[in-house]
Symmetry: C2
Subunit: 411 residues, 2 copies
């Protein structure tokens, strides 16, 4: 079963916002055994919507469309779809009441635009929106379906999770798509490819492979489609087992795991706590930890010590050491980790100090030079990394390398 | 002049990574006066690449393609394009030397896969890659062009900035596209639409308008295309001037400005410094500040006080006050801001305390309740916000609201 995702929005075509909806939809649809042939973004124009939909409904059975359902004048998807599917717009009391009760809960006054949101095409099945005011719409024609969703991410997700995916499952007999991703850190794409070339060359033909590099993390994805779920899973898992024996030290997890979630589990298991003492990462590690729901169980806080004065007063790093070795040095980062651990009263502490760029580099310590230390109950370890020239990427890679060092220390 | 952007990559179609390259390319091409008709993502399959390219080259003059140029087996774009444009692949010594010197600088060993990257189609103009190993390729046919770029973001951007955009400018006579975005915070989409309805209804027909909502920030974009740059800019700017008189208190900036960059300028002007004392935002505000290059001039550090013990010991908030009013209260957040300002020795301090969710809510203080305080040289202000149920969005909205409160305090 194949699908197209169509995103409607000038704002994406002029590069003003990113289309994150399609990524989420693709991920969820693939889990249902649906292959996405194409993701396409088009203008908020009637002609473009109609042409694209016509082509898509010829090629695939399922079309998911996002955007252009809002209350403002630039939103034309609903009227265009009504016309395309020979449907009339009529006022729905049920939907208007939903809109009113949603706005009331938020303490927002209603206006005439909200009435427009209760106008729905009479041939569409309405998929209620519990997070907002514009409902989703499902049209059926010749055993094919088109689902239209609002562009606001939380609303689109809510409608699909509560109604959309069930509507698809109940209408189609879906095959089984299996994907497994191995999460790897500490090696580049070419180097990994060389190291696992023999394994890759003997992969069964029906298993696809893809290298997915992002700053600091390389994801290696195997995929296979089939009718028998157990057979497909076993076939892919057998290859993953071989890979794990080949590069055990480079693998930190799989699929949707994240370093922060793995660390969360390890710390909860050990009944231990962590803190951070961050210079060049400027709070990025703390922010990553606190993105985990329930992190207050094992994360108590951080000192972001951007200035040397704060390294000294809050983390007890002597000014003489900073002056002698520089803030970006093994000595300072180890003292930051030990000082942070003691002052913040945690079992472990991560410290970072580096030159994120674009300025501040020297011949000795060019932009991208970063020291990371981990202090634990009976140890302190430090490591120097040489990253690149881009500030944002350096902060990201330092954050990932820090989390991976802590993960290894916890094992 | 119109263009299509084609992204090649299974990883996007299974929802594993986001297509951020297209956003960047669209933004830069629009600045050159090129309209993007469509952004399309397709599989790493020869047939799909050829079919999509055939359709695109019928419709538009410029096709930009990213992905599938890497050294591994799943990368087939180069050989497919060579075939499409009747070109032979031949080994280029120049490019091989580029690859060798790039890898040497990084201290990486070369392997046979790197030799493959020096094979180029003889009819293509090579666009050198200074950030990586796979060069860009430009094909010309019937006065139309197709540029193929690697999918790694920094390499793609480097090739376009150094060679690609100039190659386009030298080949086409480009019109003038003007877009202006007004940055708005503190109001929802429907409410804003109602408030500015009269202004919107009298906009000249040739000016397009779009509402672009993101969590915490609403962007209102006006656009116009024409031959005369001054005429177009004046026409759009006259409408923006009217808008500014209508909603002065809701506008915080324009175009690519960010709250953190505006704050950076305000603090540098005042020769003042800021710190943060963060509970529910967990380092997110500090991370936002330190994303600004040169922020060490005005940002010295933060205390991420996730636990009450750290609020007490590092920020001097008495435990009795926390017990009496709860950590999420006006009293505590004001004391955090004042304590942070004093302890971190800065002119201003932002403090946050709230219930980000998904747990921890009560009837009195449901998930989404957030207190924000700003302490300055002679004042402390606090405000309570009621956000929603999603942890990530609550942290994001708290960060934006905090920055906006600081911006207003600095004005």
């Amino acid at each position: 079963m194949n699908a197209h995702i169509i995103t409607i929005g000038d704002e994406i075509l002029i590069g003003q916002i990113n289309d994150t909806n399609s990524m989420w939809l693709a991920f969820e649809l693939v889990k249902l055994g649906i292959s996405i042939d194409t993701i396409i973004t088009i203008h908020d124009k009637k002609e473009d919507i109609i042409n694209t939909l016509t082509v898509s409904l010829k090629k695939v059975d399922i079309v998911i469309m996002t955007g252009g359902l809002g209350p403002t004048n630039d939103d034309i998807t609903k009227s265009t779809l009504a016309e395309y599917f020979n449907s009339k717009l009529s006022f729905s009391n049920d939907i208007y009441n939903n809109v009113l009760s949603f706005l009331k809960k938020r303490g927002v006054k209603t206006n005439d635009l909200n009435k427009l949101q209760a106008m729905v095409p009479d041939k569409a099945l309405v998929l209620p929106n519990m997070q907002g005011t514009a409902p989703g719409l499902l049209f059926e024609q010749n055993n094919k379906i088109c689902i239209s969703l609002p562009g606001v991410s939380s609303e689109m997700k809510g409608i699909m999770n509560e109604f959309g995916f069930n509507a698809i499952k109940s209408r189609f007999d879906l095959p089984f798509n299996f994907y497994h991703t191995t999460l790897i850190t500490g090696i580049g794409e070419s180097q990994l490819a060389e190291r696992i070339a023999d394994w890759e060359n003997t992969l069964p033909e029906e298993i696809s492979i893809a290298y997915l590099p992002t700053p600091g993390i390389l994801r290696l994805r195997l995929g296979m489609t089939g009718k028998d779920r157990i057979f497909v899973e076993n076939k892919v898992n057998a290859e993953i087992d071989k890979l794990k024996l080949l590069i055990p030290e480079l693998i930190f997890g799989e699929n949707e795991q994240t370093l922060e979630n793995i660390i969360s589990e390890l710390l909860i298991d050990k009944n231990a706590t962590v803190s951070t003492a961050e210079s060049c990462t400027g709070g990025s590690i703390a922010k990553t930890f606190t993105s985990v729901a329930g992190s207050s169980k094992w994360f108590s806080g951080s000192v972001v010590a951007y200035s040397n004065d704060i390294k000294n007063r809050f983390l007890n790093v002597p000014m003489t050491i900073i002056e002698e070795h520089g803030a970006v040095s093994q000595q300072v980062v180890e003292l930051m980790a030990m000082g942070g651990r003691k002052q913040l009263k945690t079992d472990y502490c991560i410290a970072t100090s580096g030159i994120a760029g674009p300025d501040g580099g020297t011949d000795d310590k060019p932009v991208g030079t970063v020291w990371i230390a981990i202090a634990g109950p009976d140890f302190v370890i430090a490591k120097c990394f040489k990253f690149g020239k881009e500030r944002e990427i350096n902060i990201k890679r330092t954050t990932i390398a820090s989390l991976n060092m802590l993960r290894k220390a916890l094992l």
